[in-house]
Protein backbone atom coordinates (compact mmCIF):
# COMPACT_ATOMS: atom_id res chain seq x y z
CA UNK A 1 0.00 0.00 0.00
CA UNK A 2 1.19 3.50 -0.77
CA UNK A 3 -0.64 5.17 2.10
CA UNK A 4 -1.94 3.63 5.30
CA UNK A 5 -3.90 5.75 7.75
CA UNK A 6 -4.84 4.21 11.06
CA UNK A 7 -7.10 5.70 13.71
CA UNK A 8 -6.25 9.38 13.31
CA UNK A 9 -7.67 11.62 16.01
CA UNK A 10 -7.25 15.34 16.40
CA UNK A 11 -8.84 17.76 18.84
CA UNK A 12 -8.76 21.56 18.89
CA UNK A 13 -9.66 22.40 22.46
CA UNK A 14 -12.90 20.59 23.19
CA UNK A 15 -13.83 20.17 19.55
CA UNK A 16 -12.99 16.82 17.96
CA UNK A 17 -11.95 17.64 14.39
CA UNK A 18 -10.86 14.15 13.31
CA UNK A 19 -12.22 11.13 15.11
CA UNK A 20 -10.65 7.78 14.26
CA UNK A 21 -10.08 8.15 10.53
CA UNK A 22 -8.60 5.01 8.91
CA UNK A 23 -8.16 4.15 5.26
CA UNK A 24 -5.52 3.02 2.79
CA UNK A 25 -4.67 4.08 -0.73
CA UNK A 26 -2.78 2.59 -3.66
CA UNK A 27 -1.14 3.88 -6.85
CA UNK A 28 -3.67 4.80 -9.55
CA UNK A 29 -6.39 5.78 -7.09
CA UNK A 30 -7.82 9.30 -7.07
CA UNK A 31 -9.58 9.68 -3.76
CA UNK A 32 -12.13 12.43 -3.29
CA UNK A 33 -12.57 13.67 0.26
CA UNK A 34 -16.13 14.89 0.60
CA UNK A 35 -17.82 16.49 3.55
CA UNK A 36 -19.50 19.62 4.83
CA UNK A 37 -17.41 22.60 5.98
CA UNK A 38 -15.72 21.78 9.28
CA UNK A 39 -16.11 18.02 8.76
CA UNK A 40 -12.37 17.39 9.22
CA UNK A 41 -11.17 17.11 5.62
CA UNK A 42 -8.51 19.82 5.78
CA UNK A 43 -7.30 18.71 9.22
CA UNK A 44 -6.89 15.15 7.96
CA UNK A 45 -4.99 16.35 4.90
CA UNK A 46 -2.76 18.58 7.03
CA UNK A 47 -1.89 15.60 9.21
CA UNK A 48 -1.10 13.46 6.16
CA UNK A 49 1.13 16.23 4.76
CA UNK A 50 3.04 16.49 8.04
CA UNK A 51 1.84 19.99 8.94
CA UNK A 52 -0.21 18.97 11.97
CA UNK A 53 0.47 16.25 14.50
CA UNK A 54 -2.47 14.04 15.42
CA UNK A 55 -3.35 13.35 19.06
CA UNK A 56 -3.68 9.66 18.25
CA UNK A 57 -3.18 7.33 15.31
CA UNK A 58 -0.59 6.84 12.61
CA UNK A 59 -0.10 7.39 8.89
CA UNK A 60 2.54 5.78 6.73
CA UNK A 61 3.64 6.64 3.20
CA UNK A 62 5.49 3.70 1.63
CA UNK A 63 5.82 2.35 5.14
CA UNK A 64 7.52 5.55 6.35
CA UNK A 65 5.78 6.94 9.40
CA UNK A 66 4.84 10.58 8.73
CA UNK A 67 5.06 11.37 12.44
CA UNK A 68 8.28 9.52 13.27
CA UNK A 69 10.21 10.41 10.09
CA UNK A 70 8.41 13.50 8.90
CA UNK A 71 11.20 14.86 6.69
CA UNK A 72 11.73 11.53 4.91
CA UNK A 73 8.02 11.06 4.36
CA UNK A 74 7.63 14.62 3.08
CA UNK A 75 10.13 13.96 0.28
CA UNK A 76 7.55 11.55 -1.14
CA UNK A 77 4.52 13.80 -0.73
CA UNK A 78 3.37 16.70 -2.89
CA UNK A 79 0.96 19.06 -1.16
CA UNK A 80 -1.25 21.87 -2.38
CA UNK A 81 -2.59 23.70 0.69
CA UNK A 82 -6.04 25.23 0.89
CA UNK A 83 -6.03 28.72 -0.64
CA UNK A 84 -2.92 27.96 -2.72
CA UNK A 85 -0.51 30.36 -0.96
CA UNK A 86 2.18 31.71 -3.32
CA UNK A 87 4.70 34.55 -3.32
CA UNK A 88 3.10 36.96 -5.78
CA UNK A 89 6.21 39.03 -6.47
CA UNK A 90 8.11 36.02 -7.82
CA UNK A 91 7.82 34.46 -11.27
CA UNK A 92 6.70 30.80 -11.32
CA UNK A 93 10.24 29.90 -12.43
CA UNK A 94 11.84 31.64 -9.42
CA UNK A 95 9.15 30.35 -7.08
CA UNK A 96 9.52 26.74 -8.21
CA UNK A 97 13.33 27.02 -7.97
CA UNK A 98 12.90 28.29 -4.42
CA UNK A 99 10.61 25.40 -3.46
CA UNK A 100 12.93 22.85 -5.12
CA UNK A 101 16.01 24.21 -3.35
CA UNK A 102 14.18 24.44 -0.01
CA UNK A 103 13.37 20.78 -0.56
CA UNK A 104 17.14 20.25 -0.59
CA UNK A 105 17.67 19.75 -4.32
CA UNK A 106 21.01 20.76 -5.88
CA UNK A 107 20.88 23.62 -8.40
CA UNK A 108 21.06 21.36 -11.46
CA UNK A 109 18.51 18.94 -9.95
CA UNK A 110 16.24 21.87 -9.14
CA UNK A 111 16.45 23.22 -12.70
CA UNK A 112 15.52 19.83 -14.17
CA UNK A 113 12.71 19.31 -11.66
CA UNK A 114 11.29 22.78 -12.32
CA UNK A 115 11.29 22.24 -16.10
CA UNK A 116 9.56 18.89 -15.68
CA UNK A 117 6.97 20.11 -13.18
CA UNK A 118 6.22 23.22 -15.25
CA UNK A 119 5.67 20.99 -18.25
CA UNK A 120 3.46 18.56 -16.29
CA UNK A 121 1.38 21.47 -14.97
CA UNK A 122 1.34 23.04 -18.46
CA UNK A 123 2.54 26.42 -17.33
CA UNK A 124 3.74 27.43 -20.81
CA UNK A 125 4.81 31.08 -21.23
CA UNK A 126 3.34 32.00 -17.85
CA UNK A 127 6.51 30.72 -16.21
CA UNK A 128 8.34 34.03 -16.74
CA UNK A 129 5.54 36.36 -15.59
CA UNK A 130 5.12 37.55 -12.00
CA UNK A 131 2.67 35.25 -10.21
CA UNK A 132 0.53 38.21 -9.07
CA UNK A 133 -0.25 38.99 -12.73
CA UNK A 134 -1.47 35.46 -13.54
CA UNK A 135 -5.08 34.30 -13.63
CA UNK A 136 -6.43 32.18 -10.77
CA UNK A 137 -6.30 29.11 -13.00
CA UNK A 138 -2.63 29.62 -13.79
CA UNK A 139 -1.83 30.36 -10.16
CA UNK A 140 -3.43 27.02 -9.29
CA UNK A 141 -1.19 25.40 -11.90
CA UNK A 142 1.84 27.00 -10.23
CA UNK A 143 0.71 25.50 -6.91
CA UNK A 144 0.25 22.12 -8.59
CA UNK A 145 3.68 22.37 -10.23
CA UNK A 146 5.20 23.07 -6.79
CA UNK A 147 3.48 19.96 -5.42
CA UNK A 148 4.84 17.94 -8.37
CA UNK A 149 8.47 19.03 -7.93
CA UNK A 150 9.67 15.99 -5.97
CA UNK A 151 7.89 13.59 -8.40
CA UNK A 152 5.72 12.50 -5.48
CA UNK A 153 3.90 9.18 -5.45
CA UNK A 154 1.28 10.77 -3.20
CA UNK A 155 -0.34 14.08 -4.11
CA UNK A 156 -2.55 15.81 -1.55
CA UNK A 157 -4.66 18.60 -3.02
CA UNK A 158 -6.87 20.67 -0.75
CA UNK A 159 -9.71 22.11 -2.84
CA UNK A 160 -7.69 22.33 -6.06
CA UNK A 161 -10.49 23.81 -8.17
CA UNK A 162 -12.06 26.11 -5.58
CA UNK A 163 -12.77 29.58 -6.99
CA UNK A 164 -11.95 28.68 -10.61
CA UNK A 165 -14.20 29.42 -13.56
CA UNK A 166 -15.64 26.41 -15.48
CA UNK A 167 -12.88 26.46 -18.13
CA UNK A 168 -10.11 26.67 -15.55
CA UNK A 169 -11.82 23.98 -13.49
CA UNK A 170 -11.98 21.61 -16.43
CA UNK A 171 -8.31 22.23 -17.25
CA UNK A 172 -7.24 21.45 -13.67
CA UNK A 173 -9.45 18.34 -13.60
CA UNK A 174 -7.83 17.09 -16.83
CA UNK A 175 -4.48 17.64 -15.22
CA UNK A 176 -5.49 15.69 -12.09
CA UNK A 177 -6.84 12.79 -14.16
CA UNK A 178 -3.59 12.61 -16.10
CA UNK A 179 -1.43 12.85 -12.97
CA UNK A 180 -3.52 10.21 -11.22
CA UNK A 181 -2.57 7.52 -13.70
CA UNK A 182 0.84 6.96 -12.16
CA UNK A 183 0.45 8.08 -8.55
CA UNK A 184 -2.12 8.26 -5.76
CA UNK A 185 -4.05 11.47 -5.32
CA UNK A 186 -6.20 12.67 -2.45
CA UNK A 187 -8.28 15.74 -3.15
CA UNK A 188 -10.81 17.51 -1.03
CA UNK A 189 -13.71 19.26 -2.65
CA UNK A 190 -17.21 20.53 -2.07
CA UNK A 191 -18.14 19.68 -5.63
CA UNK A 192 -19.94 16.37 -6.01
CA UNK A 193 -19.71 16.85 -9.77
CA UNK A 194 -15.94 16.97 -9.43
CA UNK A 195 -15.82 13.74 -7.48
CA UNK A 196 -18.00 12.04 -10.08
CA UNK A 197 -15.87 13.40 -12.92
CA UNK A 198 -12.37 12.86 -11.54
CA UNK A 199 -12.27 10.42 -8.62
CA UNK A 200 -12.05 6.65 -8.71
CA UNK A 201 -13.05 6.53 -5.05
CA UNK A 202 -14.78 8.81 -2.57
CA UNK A 203 -14.70 9.06 1.19
CA UNK A 204 -17.47 11.02 2.87
CA UNK A 205 -16.39 12.49 6.18
CA UNK A 206 -18.79 14.00 8.69
CA UNK A 207 -18.04 15.33 12.17
CA UNK A 208 -14.53 13.91 11.91
CA UNK A 209 -15.63 10.36 11.04
CA UNK A 210 -15.68 8.43 7.79
CA UNK A 211 -19.32 7.70 7.02
CA UNK A 212 -18.92 6.21 3.55
CA UNK A 213 -16.08 4.87 1.40
CA UNK A 214 -16.34 3.53 -2.14
CA UNK A 215 -16.50 4.36 -5.85
CA UNK A 216 -18.63 7.48 -6.47
CA UNK A 217 -21.11 5.55 -8.65
CA UNK A 218 -21.61 2.96 -5.93
CA UNK A 219 -22.18 5.65 -3.25
CA UNK A 220 -24.83 7.23 -5.47
CA UNK A 221 -26.71 3.96 -5.90
CA UNK A 222 -30.19 3.91 -4.43
CA UNK A 223 -30.46 7.71 -4.18
CA UNK A 224 -32.89 9.50 -6.45
CA UNK A 225 -30.62 12.52 -6.97
CA UNK A 226 -27.42 10.47 -7.16
CA UNK A 227 -24.29 11.51 -5.29
CA UNK A 228 -25.94 14.66 -3.96
CA UNK A 229 -28.69 12.59 -2.36
CA UNK A 230 -26.11 10.25 -0.87
CA UNK A 231 -24.11 13.20 0.47
CA UNK A 232 -27.18 14.76 2.12
CA UNK A 233 -28.28 11.44 3.61
CA UNK A 234 -24.78 10.69 4.97
CA UNK A 235 -24.08 14.12 6.42
CA UNK A 236 -27.57 14.80 7.75
CA UNK A 237 -27.86 17.93 5.61
CA UNK A 238 -26.53 20.02 8.49
CA UNK A 239 -24.07 22.87 8.56
CA UNK A 240 -21.36 23.00 11.25
CA UNK A 241 -20.42 26.19 13.04
CA UNK A 242 -16.64 25.52 12.91
Amino acid sequence: MLLEVDGLKKRFGKRVAVDGVSFSLDVGEILGFLGPNGAGKTTTMRILAGYLEPDEGACKVFNIDVLEERGRAQTRIGYLPEGNPLYGEMTPWAYLRFIAETRGMRKDEARTAVRRAAQDARLGDAIERPIETLSKGYRRRVGLAAALLPEPMLLILDEPTDGLDPNQREAVRDLIRRLGQERAIILSTHSLEEVAAVCTRAIVINEGRIVADGPPAKLAEGHADGLEGAFKALTGGQERVA
Partner: protein
Protein backbone atom coordinates in the same frame (compact mmCIF):
# COMPACT_ATOMS: atom_id res chain seq x y z
CA UNK B 1 22.22 23.85 4.21
CA UNK B 2 20.55 24.12 0.79
CA UNK B 3 17.22 24.79 2.48
CA UNK B 4 18.83 27.51 4.59
CA UNK B 5 20.38 29.21 1.55
CA UNK B 6 17.12 29.00 -0.42
CA UNK B 7 15.14 30.57 2.43
CA UNK B 8 17.85 33.21 2.97
CA UNK B 9 17.89 34.22 -0.71
CA UNK B 10 14.09 34.38 -0.96
CA UNK B 11 13.76 36.42 2.18
CA UNK B 12 16.47 38.82 1.06
CA UNK B 13 14.76 39.10 -2.32
CA UNK B 14 11.48 39.93 -0.61
CA UNK B 15 13.24 42.80 1.22
CA UNK B 16 14.80 44.27 -1.91
CA UNK B 17 11.75 43.82 -4.16
CA UNK B 18 9.49 45.66 -1.70
CA UNK B 19 10.09 49.13 -0.21
CA UNK B 20 10.77 47.70 3.28
CA UNK B 21 14.56 47.54 3.11
CA UNK B 22 14.97 50.85 1.27
CA UNK B 23 12.65 52.71 3.62
CA UNK B 24 14.38 51.17 6.64
CA UNK B 25 17.88 52.07 5.44
CA UNK B 26 16.88 55.59 4.35
CA UNK B 27 14.98 56.45 7.53
CA UNK B 28 17.65 54.89 9.73
CA UNK B 29 20.39 56.92 8.01
CA UNK B 30 18.34 60.09 8.34
CA UNK B 31 17.59 59.43 12.01
CA UNK B 32 21.15 58.46 12.93
CA UNK B 33 22.41 61.56 11.12
CA UNK B 34 19.95 63.75 12.96
CA UNK B 35 20.82 62.25 16.34
CA UNK B 36 24.58 62.28 15.76
CA UNK B 37 24.89 65.80 14.40
CA UNK B 38 22.01 67.69 16.03
CA UNK B 39 21.42 66.00 19.39
CA UNK B 40 24.87 64.46 19.86
CA UNK B 41 26.64 67.66 18.73
CA UNK B 42 29.19 65.83 16.59
CA UNK B 43 31.10 68.94 15.48
CA UNK B 44 30.73 70.88 18.74
CA UNK B 45 32.49 68.10 20.67
CA UNK B 46 35.64 68.67 18.58
CA UNK B 47 36.69 65.05 19.06
CA UNK B 48 37.66 62.71 16.24
CA UNK B 49 35.66 59.67 17.33
CA UNK B 50 32.28 58.04 16.73
CA UNK B 51 31.12 57.65 20.34
CA UNK B 52 28.34 60.18 19.79
CA UNK B 53 27.25 58.18 16.74
CA UNK B 54 27.25 54.76 18.40
CA UNK B 55 25.54 56.02 21.57
CA UNK B 56 22.20 56.26 19.77
CA UNK B 57 22.33 52.84 18.12
CA UNK B 58 20.53 50.87 20.89
CA UNK B 59 17.65 53.36 20.97
CA UNK B 60 17.26 53.56 17.20
CA UNK B 61 17.67 49.82 16.65
CA UNK B 62 15.09 49.18 19.34
CA UNK B 63 12.46 50.85 17.13
CA UNK B 64 13.77 50.30 13.61
CA UNK B 65 14.75 46.64 13.72
CA UNK B 66 11.36 45.32 14.93
CA UNK B 67 9.99 47.02 11.80
CA UNK B 68 12.36 44.89 9.72
CA UNK B 69 11.61 41.64 11.55
CA UNK B 70 7.85 42.03 12.10
CA UNK B 71 6.95 40.43 8.78
CA UNK B 72 9.30 37.42 9.02
CA UNK B 73 6.67 34.97 10.31
CA UNK B 74 3.50 37.05 10.79
CA UNK B 75 3.15 37.56 7.06
CA UNK B 76 3.72 33.87 6.28
CA UNK B 77 1.03 32.98 8.83
CA UNK B 78 -1.43 35.56 7.48
CA UNK B 79 -0.97 34.46 3.85
CA UNK B 80 -1.01 30.73 4.69
CA UNK B 81 2.48 30.22 3.19
CA UNK B 82 3.63 28.89 6.57
CA UNK B 83 1.67 25.72 5.82
CA UNK B 84 3.52 25.32 2.55
CA UNK B 85 6.93 25.88 4.17
CA UNK B 86 6.24 23.44 6.97
CA UNK B 87 5.19 20.67 4.61
CA UNK B 88 8.52 20.84 2.79
CA UNK B 89 11.17 18.38 3.96
CA UNK B 90 13.40 21.10 5.37
CA UNK B 91 14.32 21.36 9.05
CA UNK B 92 12.70 24.14 11.10
CA UNK B 93 16.14 25.51 12.03
CA UNK B 94 16.84 26.19 8.35
CA UNK B 95 13.64 28.23 8.04
CA UNK B 96 14.33 30.16 11.25
CA UNK B 97 18.01 30.80 10.53
CA UNK B 98 17.45 31.65 6.85
CA UNK B 99 14.87 34.29 7.62
CA UNK B 100 16.86 35.73 10.52
CA UNK B 101 20.09 35.98 8.52
CA UNK B 102 18.30 37.80 5.69
CA UNK B 103 16.98 40.41 8.15
CA UNK B 104 20.46 40.66 9.70
CA UNK B 105 21.92 41.30 6.24
CA UNK B 106 19.55 44.27 5.82
CA UNK B 107 20.73 45.63 9.20
CA UNK B 108 24.36 45.09 8.15
CA UNK B 109 23.69 47.01 4.92
CA UNK B 110 22.31 49.92 6.93
CA UNK B 111 25.49 49.94 9.04
CA UNK B 112 27.68 49.81 5.92
CA UNK B 113 26.00 52.96 4.62
CA UNK B 114 27.29 54.84 7.68
CA UNK B 115 30.93 54.18 6.73
CA UNK B 116 31.27 57.64 5.11
CA UNK B 117 31.01 59.01 8.64
CA UNK B 118 34.01 56.91 9.65
CA UNK B 119 35.91 58.23 6.65
CA UNK B 120 34.96 61.79 7.65
CA UNK B 121 36.36 61.49 11.19
CA UNK B 122 39.58 60.15 9.69
CA UNK B 123 39.78 63.22 7.46
CA UNK B 124 39.11 65.53 10.39
CA UNK B 125 41.55 63.99 12.85
CA UNK B 126 43.20 60.80 14.04
CA UNK B 127 40.52 58.64 15.64
CA UNK B 128 41.08 55.34 17.40
CA UNK B 129 40.08 53.14 14.46
CA UNK B 130 40.27 49.97 16.54
CA UNK B 131 37.61 51.42 18.85
CA UNK B 132 35.45 52.26 15.84
CA UNK B 133 35.80 48.72 14.46
CA UNK B 134 34.80 47.38 17.88
CA UNK B 135 31.82 49.74 17.91
CA UNK B 136 30.67 48.50 14.51
CA UNK B 137 31.12 44.86 15.55
CA UNK B 138 29.13 45.41 18.74
CA UNK B 139 26.47 47.29 16.81
CA UNK B 140 26.18 44.40 14.36
CA UNK B 141 25.88 41.85 17.17
CA UNK B 142 23.35 44.01 18.98
CA UNK B 143 21.30 44.30 15.78
CA UNK B 144 21.22 40.49 15.67
CA UNK B 145 19.83 40.36 19.20
CA UNK B 146 17.08 42.90 18.43
CA UNK B 147 16.18 41.04 15.23
CA UNK B 148 16.01 37.72 17.07
CA UNK B 149 13.58 39.29 19.55
CA UNK B 150 11.53 40.57 16.62
CA UNK B 151 11.60 37.18 14.92
CA UNK B 152 10.27 35.45 18.05
CA UNK B 153 7.45 37.98 18.42
CA UNK B 154 6.59 37.65 14.74
CA UNK B 155 6.30 33.88 15.15
CA UNK B 156 3.70 34.34 17.88
CA UNK B 157 1.12 36.21 15.82
CA UNK B 158 -0.28 36.74 12.33
CA UNK B 159 -0.38 40.50 12.84
CA UNK B 160 2.71 42.50 11.90
CA UNK B 161 1.55 45.39 14.08
CA UNK B 162 1.24 43.17 17.16
CA UNK B 163 4.66 41.64 16.40
CA UNK B 164 6.19 45.11 16.12
CA UNK B 165 4.67 46.39 19.37
CA UNK B 166 5.68 43.28 21.34
CA UNK B 167 9.22 43.38 19.97
CA UNK B 168 9.66 47.09 20.77
CA UNK B 169 8.34 46.47 24.27
CA UNK B 170 10.74 43.60 25.01
CA UNK B 171 13.65 45.39 23.35
CA UNK B 172 12.93 48.51 25.40
CA UNK B 173 12.84 46.53 28.64
CA UNK B 174 16.13 44.75 27.86
CA UNK B 175 17.75 48.06 26.91
CA UNK B 176 16.41 50.21 29.74
CA UNK B 177 17.57 47.76 32.41
CA UNK B 178 20.98 49.41 32.12
CA UNK B 179 19.81 52.95 32.78
CA UNK B 180 20.99 54.48 36.10
CA UNK B 181 17.41 55.39 36.95
CA UNK B 182 16.44 51.68 36.85
CA UNK B 183 19.36 50.72 39.11
CA UNK B 184 18.52 53.60 41.45
CA UNK B 185 14.96 52.32 41.62
CA UNK B 186 15.85 48.65 42.13
CA UNK B 187 18.74 49.08 44.62
CA UNK B 188 16.71 50.39 47.62
CA UNK B 189 13.97 47.82 46.99
CA UNK B 190 15.98 44.64 46.34
CA UNK B 191 19.54 45.57 47.27
CA UNK B 192 22.62 46.64 45.36
CA UNK B 193 23.50 43.09 44.30
CA UNK B 194 20.17 42.57 42.55
CA UNK B 195 20.36 46.02 40.95
CA UNK B 196 23.82 45.15 39.66
CA UNK B 197 22.61 41.79 38.34
CA UNK B 198 19.64 43.43 36.61
CA UNK B 199 21.95 45.98 35.05
CA UNK B 200 24.24 43.22 33.75
CA UNK B 201 21.31 41.85 31.70
CA UNK B 202 21.01 45.13 29.87
CA UNK B 203 21.86 45.47 26.20
CA UNK B 204 22.96 49.04 26.94
CA UNK B 205 25.70 48.07 29.39
CA UNK B 206 27.22 45.48 27.09
CA UNK B 207 27.11 47.88 24.17
CA UNK B 208 28.66 50.80 26.07
CA UNK B 209 31.76 48.76 26.90
CA UNK B 210 32.27 47.95 23.23
CA UNK B 211 31.84 51.59 22.23
CA UNK B 212 34.87 52.50 24.29
CA UNK B 213 36.91 50.04 22.23
CA UNK B 214 36.91 47.30 24.83
CA UNK B 215 36.23 43.88 23.36
CA UNK B 216 34.77 41.95 26.23
CA UNK B 217 34.17 38.31 25.47
CA UNK B 218 31.28 38.29 27.93
CA UNK B 219 29.56 41.02 25.87
CA UNK B 220 30.07 39.09 22.63
CA UNK B 221 28.78 36.02 24.42
CA UNK B 222 25.84 38.02 25.80
CA UNK B 223 24.69 39.24 22.38
CA UNK B 224 25.15 35.81 20.79
CA UNK B 225 23.32 34.09 23.65
CA UNK B 226 20.46 36.59 23.54
CA UNK B 227 20.11 36.03 19.79
CA UNK B 228 20.29 32.25 20.19
CA UNK B 229 17.73 32.30 22.98
CA UNK B 230 15.16 34.28 21.00
CA UNK B 231 15.83 32.24 17.86
CA UNK B 232 15.19 29.20 20.02
CA UNK B 233 11.86 30.75 21.04
CA UNK B 234 11.11 31.34 17.36
CA UNK B 235 11.86 27.71 16.60
CA UNK B 236 9.57 26.55 19.42
CA UNK B 237 6.77 28.92 18.36
CA UNK B 238 6.98 27.77 14.74
CA UNK B 239 7.11 24.09 15.65
CA UNK B 240 4.25 24.50 18.13
CA UNK B 241 1.91 25.08 15.17
CA UNK B 242 2.15 21.36 14.42
CA UNK B 243 0.23 20.75 17.61
CA UNK B 244 -2.59 22.91 16.23
Amino acid sequence: MRSFLAIYRRELLSYVTTPTAYVFVAVFLFAIGLFTFQIGGFFEQRRADLQGFFAFHPWLFMVFLPAVSMRLWAEETRSGAIELLMTLPSPTWALVAGKFCAAWTVAAAALLFTIPLWVTVNLLGAPDNAAIVTGYLASFLMAGAYLAIGSAMSALTDSQVVAFVLAVLIAFMLTALGLPMVSDFVAPLLGGGVADAVSRFSILNHFEAAQRGIVELRSVWYFLSLSAMFLGFTWLAVDARRGG
